[in-house]
């Protein structure tokens, strides 16, 4: 993806029964940044991602992709969505899945490389490549998911709490990977763990009361930052009790 790009969310709304989860969430995300989407448990982070990726239909609102000044509706195919619980076909080996994935998406791959090259990229060992995904660990499955999008390079990547369940080594590897690829993508990374967000992200967006709110990124590494975030998030209780 060359040149400038933006994703613009306009008033995304979604309710389940009587419960309004997203109340007109709006924000503009820029290419080259890793955004940390912070929110408390149940604040609607996954719902927002599902609305963007067509897993759920939002009740109202639009999402746009602006590339080189050209504005079009954001399509599911523009999005690489790494699920919190990785979901891959168990009956294939990692190698076979990647081959299948590359065949299907060959028109989206600008510079195809041999499959083993990609496995090297995410440090999946030779003997693991030809084992069934059924026997893969959580971390390996997540690496495969991320790898898919490193191959097809969709403009926007959504990562739903991806590092939460990794061991320290894999988490570090993944962080490095994300930093390496961030210049080509808009990466939005949801988490409820504050340290992860401050550690990896360039910008922090807080999802509270069904709305997206930016946090001044110059504060990111300051002492008051944590208190400020807590203050915003605690506010949510106030919203709900109104």
């Amino acid at each position: 993806m060359e040149g400038q790009a933006q994703v613009i969310l306009e008033g995304i709304q979604k309710s389940f029964g009587d419960k309004e989860v997203l109340k007109g969430a709006s924000f503009t995300f820029e290419k080259g940044n890793i955004y940390g989407l912070l929110g408390r448990n149940g604040s609607g982070k996954t719902t927002l991602f599902n609305c963007l990726s067509d897993e759920l239909t939002p009740d109202a609102g639009k999402a746009w992709l602006v590339q080189n000044g050209e504005r079009k509706e954001l399509l599911p195919s523009d999005i690489g969505y790494v699920f919190a619980t990785p979901i891959l076909p168990d009956f294939l080996t990692g190698y076979e899945f990647l081959k299948f994935y590359m065949d299907i998406n060959k028109d989206k791959i600008t510079d195809p490389k041999p499959i083993d090259f990609y496995f090297d990229l995410v440090k999946i060992e030779k003997e693991d490549r030809h084992r069934l995904i059924k026997g893969y660990s959580h971390g390996m499955k997540n690496k495969i998911q991320l790898l898919c999008y490193m191959i097809t390079r969709p403009p926007i990547m959504l990562l739903d709490e991806p590092l939460t369940s990794f061991d320290v080594v894999v988490a570090l590897e993944m962080k490095q990977l994300l930093r390496e690829i961030k210049k080509d993508h808009i990466i939005i990374f949801s988490t409820h763990i504050l340290q992860l967000a401050t550690d990896l992200c360039d910008e922090i967006v807080v999802l509270t009361g069904g709305q997206l709110e930016p946090v001044d990124s110059s504060m990111l590494h300051s002492k008051e930052f944590e208190e400020k975030i807590i203050e915003i998030l605690k506010d949510e209780d106030g919203h709900e009790h109104q």
């Binding site: 029964g17 009587d18 419960k19 990726s53 067509d54 897993e55 399509l75 599911p76 195919s77 999005i79 699920f83 979901i87 891959l88 076909p89 168990d90 009956f91 294939l92 080996t93 190698y95 076979e96 081959k99 299948f100 065949d103 299907i104 998406n105 030809h130 084992r131 069934l132 059924k134």
Partner: protein, 543 residues
């Protein structure tokens, strides 16, 4: 045992189970179209309303249990007696037989089924593990409550049933006194076995099946033989009743004083085996037979990459069908073997007993409608669709590229060709066998009849290939929780089954029926394929 503790335990259990019943009722009502929308989410918090609902639900449950017992006594004990009326039993003999049947079914075979003290039910799990009730209090209270309530639920049907059958007053009194004692003895016996061997007898399916079958045989043996020799009545005769009362009291004492309920609860309530959500367990079971096993492929197969020259969806399906051989090719082999055995058997009969030849040919020509039913069972389809969902689509459908119109249709075509290919092999084998048998029978069929017969079989095989895949793609009934959520799926399936079943009743010459079959299958397939092309890109989603 402290009566107050017991009361508190029972009240606690009652609260938990009725609250969950009320919640389920609300959840159910909310899912009814139109009405459901009017019920606000807040209703779950209305405790008073829910307590009312819980009482209503509990009352209905009690009525339901009463009704079940009446149904049981009516169908299993009284009805066989009524059917045997013409054997000319006297009224007293009928009363004896009533006691005999009930004893063997309910006191002997029934008593050793699932012991209450060792049961592994979600409610018990919730009360002991999650809520933290005392396992000893809980088990003692529940065993007493269960046997007491069982007795009360049985009481009206036993009294009425006994009077209808012709038991005298002494027999009825004996029945009522001894029945709960036999049940308590069964419970205590299981506890004794468990204490010695750490095994729960009622979990051994072999033992339970033997016991049930033996109980049923003994119960109905006199009726079947037309004899009034009812051994079982002695079980409710004065000396036996006295013995039962003594043993029953000892059993009760044993149950109440049993020291190992805490350990037993820990042993029985294993988290993996119990799901607090019975629906989830049922859903898991739905896909048990399509789970991949390690024996379905070898390590070399995984590395070999022998399909490397294939691409995209063809590649995916080649591997899919290869790793599901056990569910596809083995059943096919088995069916081909059956066809071969039938062919050899009938062929030999035709060769060695020439007098059968004309009859055989005639029977065969009238048998065509039955082939609708045969092909329904012989065709591969339903199970492989479940395997496709569980092992492949449930994950890949989460990706947008897999949900694109072109992708869905391409995948559908390849899968249809594969399934139809397998089914046509079987159909061709059946055609060959039928043709061979007609040749051996020496009776000449007109070429027209012959061609129609075989076309029918081939078309039926195609029809069932399309049918299952069409339903899967257009109705896609499964959810990520492995539930089934599409009434239309079940309705169409039942209708097709009924039609095939009804075909068994049609007896006509091949050409007449063949026209109907060809027309029906062809139009169904055309409509089905059109519907797939129109709707599948929208309906083939995860619910």
């Amino acid at each position: 045992m402290n009566i107050n503790n017991m009361k508190n335990t029972l009240l606690g259990v009652f609260h938990i189970s009725t609250a969950s019943m009320a919640n389920r009722l609300i959840y159910f009502v909310k899912r009814i179209p139109l009405i459901g929308k009017a019920v606000p989410d807040g209703i779950y918090a209305q405790m008073e309303l829910k307590q009312g609902l819980a009482v209503v639900a509990a009352l209905f449950y009690a009525l339901y249990r009463l009704f079940c017992k009446a149904l049981y006594v009516g169908l299993m004990v009284l009805l066989p007696l009524l059917l045997a009326m013409e054997d000319g039993f006297t009224r007293a003999q009928q009363g004896d037989l009533f006691l005999h049947i009930f004893f063997f079914l309910s006191c002997l075979a029934g008593a050793v089924q699932a012991p209450k003290a060792l049961e592994a039910k979600p409610n018990k799990f919730i009360c002991i593990r999650l809520v933290g009730m005392d396992p000893e209090e809980y088990t003692r209270s529940m065993v007493l409550f269960y046997h007491g309530s069982e007795f009360l639920y049985f009481l009206p049907s036993l009294l009425i049933g006994g009077i209808i059958a012709g038991c005298n007053a002494w027999q009825l009194i004996g029945l009522i006194l001894a029945f709960p004692c036999y049940r308590l003895m069964g419970e205590a016996l299981q506890l004794i076995v468990y204490r010695r061997t750490k095994r729960v007898l009622s979990t051994s399916y072999v033992l339970i099946s033997i016991l049930l079958v033996a109980g049923a045989i003994l119960a109905y043996a006199p009726l079947a033989a037309g004899s009034a020799y009812a051994v079982g009545r002695w079980a409710f005769f004065f000396p036996a009743v006295l013995a039962a009362l003594i043993l029953g009291a000892l059993s009760l004492r044993y149950i109440l004083r049993y020291p190992g309920y805490r350990a037993a609860a820990q042993d029985v309530l294993v988290h993996d085996k119990i799901s607090a959500d019975p629906q989830k367990t049922a859903a898991q079971n739905r896909f048990r037979d399509v789970k991949l096993r390690d024996s379905d492929f070898t390590g070399e197969e995984l590395i070999a990459g022998k399909h490397g020259n294939q691409k995209g969806y063809r590649y995916l399906n080649t591997i899919f069908f290869e790793r599901h051989r056990r569910m596809l090719v083995l059943p096919l082999y088995r069916r081909l073997l059956i066809v071969a055995v039938l062919f050899v058997g009938c062929g030999a009969a035709l060769l060695f007993f020439p007098e059968f030849r004309p009859t055989f040919s005639q029977v065969l020509s009238r048998l065509l409608p039955a082939f609708c039913f045969v092909m329904y069972f012989a065709s591969i389809g339903e199970r492989i669709c479940r395997a496709m969902f569980y092992n492949c689509d449930i994950s890949l459908l989460r990706y947008s590229y897999y949900r694109e119109r072109g992708a869905i249709l391409r995948n559908f075509q390849i899968r249809l060709a594969r399934i139809a290919g397998l089914n046509l092999i079987l159909a061709a084998a059946i055609c060959l066998a039928v043709g061979g048998l007609i040749f051996l029978s020496g009776v000449t069929w007109s070429p027209k009849d012959m061609i129609f017969f075989m076309l029918c079989i081939l078309f039926l095989s195609l029809f069932f290939s399309v049918h299952h895949l069409f339903l899967y793609y257009v109705c896609q009934p499964y959810t990520t929780e492995l539930d089934m959520k599409n009434p239309l799926f079940n309705i169409i399936n039942v209708v097709v089954y009924m039609v095939c079943y009804m075909c068994l009743q049609i007896h006509t010459v091949p050409s007449n029926f063949a026209f109907i079959v060809l027309g029906a299958t062809l139009s169904y397939m055309v409509v089905a394929l059109a519907l797939v092309y129109k709707f599948a890109p929208k309906t083939f989603r995860i619910k």
